[in-house]
């Protein structure tokens, strides 16, 4: 597989390791959206969260394997990006009538900009990587942002 430059879409500021478990999905959305705002990925927290909720209303983003993959496509997104949050313990994540334990949240910020294909390609590649158990182990065990990026970039199927 082509080497992917994950660091282009996953910033250190939006890669949160060993956070306390969230009380709810809503709390997780607020927390991550605020990280996106601080990192200048989105213009407005509420508008972006609205787009996450719109997506939640059409299908589940609980992916099994302790993964929650909420994603919002919004005018509020300046540049496509990924937020990652690893919780110390799983929390109950409810999505479209499905409930499951989530320990890893991947939040995708998708822009309306049609010229963003390059970034979209990296988001798509990351999504496909999440079906590999070896990748989940990297995300579970690495102790720093730098290690996660370097291990993922050298991971080959």
């Amino acid at each position: 597989m082509d080497t992917i430059n994950l660091a282009e879409v996953l910033n250190k500021e939006t890669c949160i390791l060993d956070h306390e478990p969230f009380a709810s999905k809503t709390e997780a959305f607020q927390f991550m959206a605020n990280k996106f705002k601080d990192a200048n990925i989105i213009d407005d927290v509420d508008t972006y969260i609205e787009s996450l909720e719109e997506r939640e209303a059409i299908g589940s983003t609980y992916m099994g394997n302790f993964i929650g993959l909420p994603h919002g496509k919004s005018e509020a997104v300046r540049i496509p990006a990924i937020g990652f949050c690893r919780c110390k313990e799983p929390f109950m994540y409810e999505s479209y009538g499905e409930v499951g334990e989530v320990k890893y949240i991947f939040m995708l910020a998708i822009s309306m900009d049609q010229g963003a294909d390059h970034y979209m390609r990296v988001l798509a590649t990351l999504a496909s990587l999440l079906t590999h158990q070896e990748v989940i182990e990297i995300l579970d065990q690495e102790t720093s942002y730098e290690n996660i990026i370097s291990k993922l970039q050298t991971y080959e199927k």
């Binding site: 997506r55 059409i58 299908g59 589940s60 983003t61 992916m63 099994g64 993959l69 994603h71 496509k73 995708l108 998708i110 294909d117 979209m120 390609r121 988001l123 798509a124 590649t125 999504a127 496909s128 990587l129 999440l130 079906t131 590999h132």
Partner: protein
């Protein structure tokens, strides 16, 4: 066996690509040939050829939005398994179930 699949989803970025990878992975594990066309936000990728569709033993539709150029499959309706990308991601071996 030969498996072909089409994946698509609402936003066209997460489920489309995760489902495609899940299908490729399970087919590889089980030793089946597999081709997956993704209809996502980046347009149609790895488009199936008519011969792929004709020779396939199983055609998997893992979509929750409409499939483009669906008329390609009109003659092979008996081989089609209609699923959602979500179901395929959570349990990839579902594609082999009758």
């Amino acid at each position: 066996m030969k498996i072909v699949a089409i994946t698509s989803c609402a936003t066209g970025i997460a489920h489309t690509y995760m489902a495609a990878e899940a299908i490729k992975k399970i087919c590889k594990q089980k030793g089946h040939e597999c081709k997956v066309e993704m209809q996502g936000a980046l347009g149609i990728e790895d488009k199936l050829k008519d011969v792929d569709i004709k020779e396939a033993d199983i055609i998997v539709f893992a979509n929750d939005v409409g499939i483009s150029k669906i008329e390609r499959f009109d003659a092979y309706k008996d081989k089609i398994r209609k699923l959602t990308p979500h179901a395929v991601i959570q349990n990839p071996s579902i594609i082999f179930e009758e």
